[in-house]
Symmetry: C2
Amino acid sequence: MTDQITDVAEEQLDDSDLNSFDSTGIDIAEVHRAVMGSWPAERQRARDIAADPLFWRDDTLAMDEHRDRVLEQVKLLTERGTPKLSFPKRLGGGENPGGNIAAFEEIFLADPSLQIKSGVQFGLFGAAIMHLGTEEHQDRWLPAAMNVETLGAFAMTETGHGSDVASIATTATYDEATEEFVINTPFRAAWKDYLGNAAKDGTAAVLFAQLITKGMNHGVHAFYVEIRDEAGNYLPGIGGEDDGVKGGLNGIDNGRLHFSDVRIPRTNLLNRYGDVAADGTYSSPIESPGRRFFVMLGTLVQGRVSLDGSAVVAQQAALAIAVTYANQRRQFDNSGSGQETVLLDYGRHQRRLIPRLATAYAATFSHDEFLREFDTVFSGEGDTPERRADLETLAAALKPTTTWAGMDTLQIAREACGGAGYLAENRLTFLRHDLDVYTTFEGDNTVLLQLVGKRLLEDYASKFKEADARESARMLVSQAASRAFHDIGLARLGSIARDFGSSARSVGWLREPENQHALLSARIEEQISEIGMSLNRAQKAGKGDAAFNSLQHKLIETSHAYGELIQWEAFTRKLEDFDPESETHRILTWLRDLFGLSLIERDLSWYLMSGRLTTKRARLVSSYMTRLISRLRPHAQSLVDAFGYKDAHLRAKIASGAEKARQDEAAAYYSALRTSGNAPEDERTVYRAKRKQKREQERAAQQK
Amino acid sequence: MTDQITDVAEEQLDDSDLNSFDSTGIDIAEVHRAVMGSWPAERQRARDIAADPLFWRDDTLAMDEHRDRVLEQVKLLTERGTPKLSFPKRLGGGENPGGNIAAFEEIFLADPSLQIKSGVQFGLFGAAIMHLGTEEHQDRWLPAAMNVETLGAFAMTETGHGSDVASIATTATYDEATEEFVINTPFRAAWKDYLGNAAKDGTAAVLFAQLITKGMNHGVHAFYVEIRDEAGNYLPGIGGEDDGVKGGLNGIDNGRLHFSDVRIPRTNLLNRYGDVAADGTYSSPIESPGRRFFVMLGTLVQGRVSLDGSAVVAQQAALAIAVTYANQRRQFDNSGSGQETVLLDYGRHQRRLIPRLATAYAATFSHDEFLREFDTVFSGEGDTPERRADLETLAAALKPTTTWAGMDTLQIAREACGGAGYLAENRLTFLRHDLDVYTTFEGDNTVLLQLVGKRLLEDYASKFKEADARESARMLVSQAASRAFHDIGLARLGSIARDFGSSARSVGWLREPENQHALLSARIEEQISEIGMSLNRAQKAGKGDAAFNSLQHKLIETSHAYGELIQWEAFTRKLEDFDPESETHRILTWLRDLFGLSLIERDLSWYLMSGRLTTKRARLVSSYMTRLISRLRPHAQSLVDAFGYKDAHLRAKIASGAEKARQDEAAAYYSALRTSGNAPEDERTVYRAKRKQKREQERAAQQK
């Protein structure tokens, strides 16, 4: 038994590529270009803004002052022009949806409050006018929104309904007599809640409400509503509350709004997808009220796209700080040489940081593909209903995957920096406080992943009812994936990975991208197939709801794995951009392998139970990861340097070189002390020598 | 293949005890008594303080005002008397070390800043005087410390050395001519750092420095040093910096101190474990300088004990908030009944919260055993060197285990409460910000777990060199455990779990505590054995250091599992306090089983690879967990109610009944609307009916 369990690293690892390691290292500039992605100019423009002290977070401010500062920053940001990138050219915009999001993401490192406050203003309030309104609406309201003359709230969520937007309780009832809508929030749970710009700055809102006319509820529609006068007083019938201090993002004035018989003109309905004539007749270009609802919400997918990219920025910054510190900070003289060990030379420290570096790269490259797809759809270049639906699936898979990874990486980075990591001056804690809510706003991660799972299951149920269940599951996942990724190419799901236990070149087998891919996709296929079959059986027995509920956790885990597979594929495709003979290619391939294997390691029990991996090969997963990590360790600094963040972005004292200066100063002090001859003796040395002498005397006495 | 992977829950679960479920539920009062542990009066006294608004955290305060408030609260707390519980009776203390810690832990829910500021004052500054000084020192300095006339810093950590205390660079050099010590921090990395009370309030410090006399460095000793005059100005030769804003605990004035030729009287050396005579001669009751160092540091173990208990409080509070909200909050009308589903009825929500409830109970019961052991040693009742060493191992295993679990539980609770969870008014985020640093202060979790691992390995190496390696590993772990738990009884490691694949009563097999225990302990035994053997091989090859480093991650994971096993055992022992025929016993047993199985599930791949579990039985682990979770779901509210926290402790609006009131109000509104006949029709209903009609017409047309 023991022999079986013994770490097999020494004996069985295939070392064939060990000696080929080339110390010339990676081409940092080339990797940096890859990191900057498809809108490098816009991204760089925003990085320059984020490096300007005018836009920095001031950690010493209490909520009120922080809000004031961020409001001024939003105005300043508007002057710099990046927020206008997405808007119509005829209104001074750039009609550059991809570049707009790329720029937006980088504002995270100025202050996430500034990022999200501008996101509320331009990406929600402004974007809703643009996407849900007509040209007339755009002309009427967008200029003031784009110039921050009108600050606006995005009044969708209510205290009582967040994830289930279709069930919001606010009503907009049409009054034919006056040709007005009458807005009401009929009870406390119907109050609009958590709205940026609502507590203080907003004078208008895009408000979502059940549109009722002629006794018929046509579902959720958006309305332009003025909420405050120029003096900042609520307009008649409107009131509100401040959400107060939050776990982060305290530069934003989130608040609640309630409405009692507030009348707005009929023409304030943002009526692109549904209109009410003067006589109260409702009409819509989309007949199905269900589809209409999803089309309207779908226009707002850019929020999720941008959060995916922001969480990538968070991962990059966290690792840039923690890896830089870990390469300078020393603790414990393990070799007795008088030289303490650099933190990143500890096996545990490597295990905490280097696999997360692989995750950050995977997230970086997949986000760029995602952003290109978003741009293709929203620039109109490739705008089809199917592609919009696929884009939403992609968003629902990736936003949870990266925001959770961002939280995890920030926390590990903070702990890896010890007490220094807890100081605001080293950034990690406050970035994490701010990122926290990214996991539940713009779609709760759990709810989004359930959407992904349902999409896969729906295809399974509707298209392959008659076919052999397992085969069909495989087909469905390929099919869904290929639909979601026509232009990106994630269509290789469905290959069969089976480890027949050949012992030759075992590590080589794990290293083959085809095998990594097959293992990762197999897990998704089979789990979806299992869930689908269980649901079919349960539905036949009339227990579908209960069965779905008991499988919900498994479905969500599978959808999460699907998001990670998308990232793995994007990373693998990105490798093709590098010269296959280059050191850079070799190192990034290790990093991709490490990402793939870390996913397999986490779910190793599944691979064992499903027979996809033999025990023998499964053991190699962890030991090969250890090997990859130690190969990557010398390149960790280059890999974080390639993110391209400067001190003005990271603004972490421990990553500024201060730690190295302290280490050098201390070493110089001790060196001078030794040279001076004034260094005290160490009692421990004397004690050890005395003990040794005593032992020798005892031994000598015994021999007498 | 597919059949093998299919969820086997339906077919193979042993349902024998399903029908015996008794709806009368658990005896909440009895469970509450168990939760309150061995010092219920002291714990309740501190709970009363935590429920007093005078002691509450004010989330709106910026750092400076927060510090001022907490300083006043520390003084007030002193008036209430709980901090004096640990001190000598002759000075007005209670000589009640266990009760003191129990009370201290509950202050977490007032404001963690207040807790830790008082911990610095009484548990570090005061305790160091008490434990490292003589009676004379106590008489001279303790009364002012106990009454907060002198606020003191605990000046151990330096910017350059945190985990490696033995290597701090501050020196205290004895000057025979003046009979003084001369204190120096010779370079920037030697500055004392992260010290509570140092930035503003402290007028004195217990300072740790290398004691040098007659050209010999006798290692780290503690000195009483005055740092500021009554006006708050630094004394000559002393300076400092404010650590500024932190990721949490901003009510504490952490800062840095530096010393240049600061002279203090010889008698300011806290000389219980090492003294310098007027002529400069050093003496110590402990000959070995290494052991002397560990004995001195060991007197301060109470910090780790109290953090273990504080993290338990954090887990309890987080779950009380999240479970209460999840039982009131509704989202999505899944059944089409017009009644939305309560969050805790979702399978995923249950999976997120209920296993963590099991973890919180395990942590609660094991903390009480730990605290009793601490009290036995520190009350003098059972104070032996072995027991002190064992207590430190216990602290090193449990403090990391619970602080990480506390962080995890707070974050999951926050996400489970969605946007509401992010508001300060619902407590979760700020408790988490504050708890964050508990994972790295008072011993970095990673470093502590490595100590645990080294302890196990040392015994392995020294005692069983000659014996068969695997057998010896088993013996060693039992032996180490029994040494660490003589009075507690964790001595059952070493039993052999082997799953021979019998399919009969498979779930019954998993339910047997003997089998859970054997599985959990087997993992520790075998991993320690593997690591030990690998190290032996490597040492023979002269590669011991490299091998240790590559195994460091595995060793730390194993030590973490050891901490969890201690918790599992304590939970199991606690079950004996309940009537075995009672519903309470049955439910708590499910909870214990869930805790055990969740640990096994996480490491399932190890159990499969080691042959400890067959694939068949391994599959049952997750499905039986699902079953246990759904059995426990109806009791979740009772289980959090049994923690006994009131609204004044939790102070989370969402857990105050407000959500239920909102739900009731909304339901009443819709009910009245339906009754009134004024409810609008729903277009979706009309649309569906129209579609159905159309389909029927088409079918009819085809049949014609």
